[in-house]
């Protein structure tokens, strides 16, 4: 198993951001879906050794993320949710830094290759402060992909990318999968998850409320409603069914207003 978690849990003070998560991810594209604040990034941070779980265990390629963190870092690549590229350096310098830090062999060729793949070849020698937002995002992907990891973590990688870049990224990720890489991705785009992910998990306030292939998830609610369901429908059903106590309570709100008079 590339990724395995057993009862993975993380609190921030009283708030349970990740609640008893059990996952097994193999050589596949695995999508983690959830509303803002569901706990996706927190999960990724624990799996990439950046945050310690409160309880539970997690293994990447059989290495414990806490006790064997150094080994874990050798087999992963990670693209964080927030962009961080050096605007004073050129695109090539940005990618070269990571190629060197990952210890990539045959760096020059590899850096050019990945810049070309991300559609940045012509602008590679320009400073990044002249790049557009989407180009910076592509550069960030190039930094992670310059190394050929066994497990790739992508936290909302397609945010702000145009259609062409998005398609290229997914094609590249699919080819990585064929080469044996496991991909763990979080996204808010249901259509992408539906099209490209082998399996998805839906996370709601720290808990996994559904996990299966997109088509199975859709089939399961097919029996409940008449029209052809999309992954959006699955998502809204799973999340709102769980979300009642904490959600917007019409009745309580009205009584609250009445009392204030």
């Amino acid at each position: 198993m590339s990724i395995k978690t057993i009862g993975l849990t993380r609190y921030f003070d009283k708030l349970c951001a990740v609640d008893n998560v059990n996952l097994e991810v193999g050589n596949e594209i695995f999508g983690l879906l959830g509303l803002n604040g569901a706990g996706k990034t927190t999960t990724v941070l624990m799996l990439t050794t950046l945050l310690k779980p409160c309880t539970g265990e997690a293994y990447i390629c059989d290495f414990d993320v806490v006790r064997e963190a150094g080994e874990v870092r050798k087999v992963i690549s990670y693209v964080p949710q927030d962009m961080a590229v050096d605007i004073k350096l050129t695109g090539r310098e940005n990618v070269m830094l990571y190629a060197r830090l990952y210890g990539v062999a045959d760096r020059n060729r590899r850096v050019d290759e990945i810049l070309g793949l991300m559609g940045l070849a012509e602008r590679a020698n320009d400073r990044v402060n002249s790049y557009s937002g989407g180009m910076r995002r592509r550069l960030e992907l190039a930094q992670a992909l310059v190394h050929e990891p066994q497990v790739l973590f992508l936290d909302e990688p397609t945010l702000g990318l145009d259609v062409a870049a998005r398609r290229k990224m997914w094609e590249y990720i699919s080819s990585l999968k064929k080469n044996g890489v496991s991909i763990f991705i979080t996204t808010h785009y249901m259509d992408e998850a539906d099209k490209f992910c082998d399996r998805v998990a839906i996370m709601d306030r720290g808990r996994i409320v559904a996990m299966d292939s997109p088509s199975k998830l859709k089939n399961n609610i097919h029996s409940l409603s008449a029209k052809e369901p999309s992954l959006d429908d699955v998502f809204m059903q799973k999340v709102s069914a769980e979300g009642e106590q904490g959600g917007f309570d019409d009745y309580k709100f009205r009584t609250l207003l009445r009392r204030r008079k």
Partner: protein, 241 residues
């Protein structure tokens, strides 16, 4: 080990590509030397410029090192640190890269001061004075840039870092032997000054300028560097976000 140079090169490029910050960091210490050494109305010793130059050199290194902690703070706030910490490169190479860059930049600033001091006629004992002075300043810079970078890793935001920075830097400087000889100090200040690591560096450089070599000062500073680096490496290896 090579990773240290990669991190160093990144910071160096980022710095040198901003002309304004290069200019201001080189001009500031020179202004200090002129102000304190020539313009200040008080004189604690006969040739005050000779006396104050070692103090200004060490002060420059001290402020450069403490200021250097903000490099890591910004890497942290802007999300670079997260990416670096998840890389297979040993995490302490982030620390050593910062130390190397901060000390290097501090030594460049010191060079400006040394050059000005020589132009202004400050006497140096022998040709060995300059390289040995660099060595002392480097060790001293490593000490404080390691402390600054490690503190920066542990605090959450820029404001608390700069608050701690200003709380530490001025007292460290003014309770050292930078501005006046020990004989001129009040008793309480003499005690503090003789314990202050900033004084060790200043006294050692001052001795070099008059042709003596204070082995004690070097040994004490080096011992402190070893202890601080061990703690810092440990903290970096264990760091979480």
């Amino acid at each position: 080990m090579r990773e240290i140079l990669y991190y160093f090169e990144r910071d160096l490029k980022r710095w040198t590509r901003s002309r304004k910050s290069v200019f201001s960091s080189l001009a500031m210490p020179a202004a200090w030397l002129v102000f304190v050494g020539l313009a200040l109305p008080i004189r604690f010793t006969d040739n005050y410029l000779d006396f104050i130059t070692p103090g200004i050199l060490v002060m420059t290194m001290l402020f450069a090192s403490l200021q250097g902690g903000t490099l890591l703070i910004f890497d942290k706030i802007l999300g670079f640190l997260n990416k670096f910490l998840a890389l297979p490169a040993p995490r302490e190479s982030i620390l050593f890269g910062k130390i190397l860059f901060i000390a290097f930049r501090g030594l460049l600033q010191s060079t400006v001061i040394l050059a000005m001091a020589i132009l202004l006629g400050v006497k140096m004992h022998s040709f060995m004075t300059v390289p040995l002075t660099y060595l002392v300043l480097f060790i001293f810079g490593v000490l404080f840039s390691a402390i600054a970078t490690t503190v920066a890793l542990l605090v959450d935001d820029y404001d608390s870092y700069s608050a701690m920075n200003s709380m530490a830097s001025m007292p460290l400087f003014f309770t050292s032997s930078a501005l006046m000889p020990y004989e001129m100090m009040p008793q309480w200040l003499r005690v503090i000054a003789s314990l202050n690591p900033v004084s060790y560096a200043i006294d050692t450089v001052r001795a070099l300028f008059s042709g003596n070599f204070l082995l004690d000062g070097m040994v004490e500073l080096t011992a402190m560097v070893v202890v601080v680096l061990m703690v810092s490496v440990y903290v970096f290896r264990k760091a979480t976000v």
